[in-house]
Amino acid sequence: MSAIKFDEYEYPMQISFATWKKLFSFGRFFLKDFAVVIVFMSILALTNVFIPLMTRYAIDHFVLPRSITGLDIFIIIYGLILLFQIVSVYLFIYHASRIEYGMAYKIRQAGFERLQTLSLSFYDRVPVGYLMSRMTSDCNQLGVAFGWILVDIVWALVYLVASLVSMFMIHSKLTLQIILVLPILTVVSIYFQRKILAQQREVRKANSKASHAFNESIMGAKTIKSLVLEEETVRRFHKVSSDIRQKSIRSAKLSAIYLPVVISISSIACAFAMVKGSNQVIAGFMTVGFLNAYVNYVISMFEPIHDIAASLSELQRMQASAERIIGLINTEADIVDDPEIIQTYGDFFNPKKENWPSIRGNVDFENVTFRYKGGEKVLNNFSLHVNAGENIAIVGPTGAGKSTLVNLLCRFYEPTEGNILIDGVDYRKRSQLWLQSNLGYVLQEPHLFSGTIKENIAYVKPDATMDEIVEAAKLVNAHSFIQKLDGGYNADVGEGGGKLSTGERQLISFARAVIHNPTLLVLDEATSSVDAKTEQAIQHAIEAVLKNRTSFVIAHRLSTIRYATRIIVIDRGQVVEMGTHDELMKKQDFYWRLYTKQLIDERSKSALGTKDKE
């Protein structure tokens, strides 16, 4: 399991080749584009080197001797070179952009596929926002890096080599002297680029502090007002905003001084070349046209050096993005099916359903002990036998291990010790997808996907007929409210189901579980209270859903608890009481206390009319 780095602003100093190698493996889909970019970027660089030579030809052959013989051919050649240039520009932009978007596409696709198979333990640890920025901005930036840094480096290298070759051909001795300026330019450029990169990172950090401050003062507006923190907030923010200003100006200063410095260095070399070259012209060893071309080469020499230095520091920045996204793609799931299991039953994306055994719904917890990574024991030597068709209610105080129990049953986590058997077979001897396909899960906070009501009910069974969908909705009492919606079953639920109330979302999520017709059902009952009518509808829905299946309900409502065939009371990871409602009430112990407290809460709430808070 690779480490996840949460800090967005740390840039590694070393380029890790393993990471880039992995990234380049995505490049195999764009080999043609890479080839086109390399070829045409080289052609472009060559035309850039060639044009001063054309001017030199015009000077030495037409202007100085005052002749126009061959001007027509000159025009044609010159036109062709410029045409090459235009075509190269078109092709390199086109293909570099293809690489940019294509690489991002491929990397993102691989990241998404991995994300689907990672265990929930991973999601408990890593915030969604972090994953979002890996999958969006990091992927985009890597795309840019692949497309455009390549463009810059190819151009710079070809241009540098070609212009040096031209310079050697014009005057090799002089070039040997001039070339001494290259290492100076390189050192200065790399020095500045590094500093600029570091300073830009400071600017970004300061900017994110400002966004954070705005966020805080907008979200906390009420608190700020009631505690009279306006002045304090503004005063604090002045520090943040002047910090951005200072750092941005410092960064701008670095950039502003960098180009003048390298150009000044180049200009000394240029002046030197001009003086020496003029002597050669006077002595008759060089023509005016060549001298003109030569000095222009010298003054432009810093450009490829600058491009390379900038690309290198950009690569350093990209390294951080690359490590984060590759780290994600290389993350191993905590729960992986054995190769033999995959061989027999298939994996998430290629299931071999024909080999899947049918399921009856007997569940056994055999001496199950569980602890979260590095944490304390949440379940301790827990055993439970559940017959097919039983409805189990799980009750207990917060932190007792209720959620852990169902997480283990769903195989979101696996037991640290002990086994969980389904129909007498250890569930690790079946594929994860097999279990999940026979499992229905209704969450406390129902999560809907954007789309229509119909699509959400048929989420697990996209080929469900309209009759099946309506039947499912009717079974859970959702049909009547759906019909009242604008568009009925085709009504849009909005992002995350935002256009529906919590109660309505719950009903839809019941319908979604029903249409799936799972043998095992897990229900994490919602605590949020809804209005009496919806409450009643939900109650009926729960009864309908639980019928004829093995079910585990983390129960909060008394009515649901009473409906269960068996109630298990857990505290600190162990079963403390077990039995039917009447049996447990007679004992007047743990369950009885919980029940009474619950009763008080429910009755007060209904007396005070606490409504759904949306």
């Binding site: 001017t55 015009a58 037409f62 100085l64 045409l83 520009v89 092709l91 932009i93 086109y94 952009s97 978007y101 596409y105 696709q109 596929e113 689907q116 999601y123 969604v128 979002m132 401050a213 705005f214 003062s217 507006a221 608190t223 007002k225 505690l227 009279v228 304090e232 923010f237 951005i244 200003r245 701008a252 200063k253 950039s255 180009l259 003048p260 410095v261 150009i263 000044s264 180049s266 200009s267 240029c270 001009m274 003086v275 003029s278 003109n292 222009n296 003054i299 998430f348 994306f349 997808l433 279990l435 999940q436 954007s450 995350g496 009474t596 008080i600 009755r603 007396a607 005070l608 606490t610």
Partner: protein
């Protein structure tokens, strides 16, 4: 390509290496100071021209440096002042504004809109200056050499301008479509990640992958459609430059053939004319960015134009440890539904008032009105006989400690959160309040104790822990009136009882208002009012209220009697 200053090269080629008369070198040669430099030979002239090259780049460098610094300073100053003004304005906007405004949109305006304006000022404005400079330079340096060639060189400029303007708009449109496709992809991604438990529970990895592949491909395809347009835009610009450079060089060659121009002239004309089109090509981008910057500025101004909270003229700062009177107070958020309907009551200084009410009965509005987060639609609220509308709002809020229902903590250390409203408190006072709110244990158990960061980058606190800290910060500041707006809902009853008993000890001089659903929190108050749908339906002491039928007794029976039964076992 960079160019060596063309005029220096022209002088070198025409005068020093050629046989043309000098353009400007003779002027330097005639200067008395430089007499000793020129021995009249070509070598010294060449050296001098070499120095001129270095000097011209050096001066150009200084100019660029100064320009860079000043445009950065100017744009950063504008951005800083925008940010400061926004922050200053936002915290002073009426509370009602914050309730209705969308947080995400506000934050976007304060960050990315300011950034758009800043970038435009820093980068694009300079480009406009660059274009003007280039055109002026072209006219000054090229026209004396050849008017004809200058005009030919300038000819493509308006075309380039029109072309880049219209074509760039096309590019922008294409990329807007791409951005839309990207937003769709992000939405699917976000939904998948936040619903990953559902995906796992139902085993829908394959169909999720299909869904994502569709939008991811959609984004890629949208980009593929935009790319040729952009490639064409840039290569089309190059086409103009190519035509221009061929025409210029051919015309120059012909002019020299007829003896009208020299080598130096050719270099001057080709160099400067090729420098004309580069900046012009940027104009399309600049104009469209100018449009964006204006829109961004407009959105920023929307915020700055919203009126802030009004302070009464000659605001009073009366003592607040006086009787509080609600006199026929009505309140409505939308002028339709009355949240409070002619509510009247009096709290004597130093006494405790408790409020019970069903959801939506207007309990929270009551205390919001007292802190003047909103103003009554009708009636008035007085403290010591003075209408609070005439009281300086900061004074009022400072003297009234309100503990809100939802506890918002700042992303600072625990210590800073507690002392936020009373930054000069000493250690002893802080220790006392955290003991009063039963927060000592969990603070000491936090990784860095008092210096533990709260929130995003620090520890995540439970609802009850947050509530206790938010009570602590209110207790730490010195208040005449304390209000607890259902602010102990997330702590268990035992902790609440402990907190309450320590509060009673300290709150002798303080007028207290308690809103709660728990009878145990309300029953010891000097006066209790029961609100229903914005009206006071019952009031009196605990004993009085128990004697009459109504909500209070009903809730009491549910909570206390069944609870007592429970305790007795």
């Amino acid at each position: 390509m960079r160019f060596v200053p063309a005029n220096i090269l022209a002088e070198l080629f025409d005068h020093v290496l050629g046989d043309q008369p000098s353009r400007w070198l003779h002027w330097f040669q005639s200067l008395p100071i430089l007499k000793n430099v020129f021995y009249g030979d070509r070598l010294s002239q060449v050296w001098f021209l070499g120095l001129c090259i270095i000097l011209s780049y050096f001066i150009q460098g200084i100019a660029n440096y100064v320009r860079g610094i000043y445009s950065a300073k100017a744009s950063e100053n504008v951005a800083q002042s925008l940010r400061n003004r926004l922050m200053n304005h936002i915290v002073r906007l009426p509370y009602a504004y914050h309730v209705s405004a969308s947080t995400g949109d506000l934050i976007k305006r304060c960050t990315s809109d300011v950034e758009t304006v800043r970038r435009f000022l820093n980068l694009q404005l300079v480009s406009i200056y660059n274009i003007l400079m280039m055109v002026t330079l072209a006219i000054v340096l090229m026209v004396p050499v050849s008017l004809k060639v200058t005009l030919l060189g300038m000819a493509p400029v308006p075309f380039m301008f029109i072309y880049s303007y219209f074509f760039f708009n096309k590019v922008i449109l294409a990329f807007e479509r791409t951005e839309k496709a990207e937003a769709q992809m992000n939405a699917v991604l976000q939904e998948n990640l936040s619903g990953i438990r559902i995906v796992h529970a139902f085993g829908t990895q394959q169909s999720e992958l299909d869904k994502f592949t569709k939008v991811n491909t959609g984004f890629f395809n949208a980009a593929l459609k935009a790319i040729p347009i952009e490639s064409l835009y840039w290569s089309g610009g190059d086409f103009f430059s190519a035509i221009q450079s061929i025409v210029i060089i051919v015309v120059c060659v012909l002019e020299t053939y007829y003896g009208k121009l020299s080598v130096g002239d050719l270099i001057v004309l080709t160099t400067y004319s090729s420098m004309l089109l580069g900046p012009t090509r940027q104009l399309g981008r600049i104009l469209s960015n100018a449009g964006r910057a204006l829109v961004a500025l407009g959105r920023i101004n929307d915020i700055l134009d919203t009126p802030t909270e009004k302070e009464p003229e000659n605001a009073k700062r009366p003592p607040m440890n006086r009787d509080i009177v609600f006199d026929n107070v009505s309140f409505s958020y939308d002028n339709e539904r009355k949240v409070l309907d002619e509510v009247s009551f009096r709290i004597q200084a130093g006494k405790t008032l408790a409020v019970l009410g069903n959801t939506g009965s207007g309990k929270s509005s009551l205390v919001h009105l007292l802190q003047r987060l909103y103003s009554p639609t009708d009636g008035k609220i007085t403290v010591g006989g003075i209408d609070i509308q005439e009281v300086d709002s900061k004074w009022l809020r400072n003297r009234i400690g309100l503990v809100l229902q939802e506890s918002f903590l700042f992303n600072r250390t625990i210590h800073d959160n507690i002392s936020i409203a009373a930054p000069n408190s000493n250690k002893r006072a802080i220790l006392r309040v955290i003991e009063d709110v039963q927060a000592k244990d969990f603070i000491e158990n936090s990784p860095k104790g008092f210096d533990t960061l709260v929130g995003e980058r620090g520890v995540t606190l439970s609802g009850g822990q947050k509530q206790r800290l938010s009570i602590a910060r209110t207790l730490l500041k010195d208040s005449d009136i304390l209000i607890f707006d259902d602010s102990l809902s997330a702590v268990d009853s035992e902790t609440e009882a402990a907190i309450r008993s320590s509060l009673e000890k300290r709150a002798k001089e303080v007028t207290t208002i308690i809103i709660s659903h728990r009878i145990t929190s309300l029953m010891t108050a000097d006066h209790i009012i029961v609100l229903q749908d914005g009206k006071i339906v019952q009031e009196g002491t605990h004993e009085q209220l128990l004697k009459q039928p109504g909500l209070y007794r009903q809730v009491y029976e549910i909570q206390i009697e069944s609870g007592e039964e429970h305790v007795s076992h």
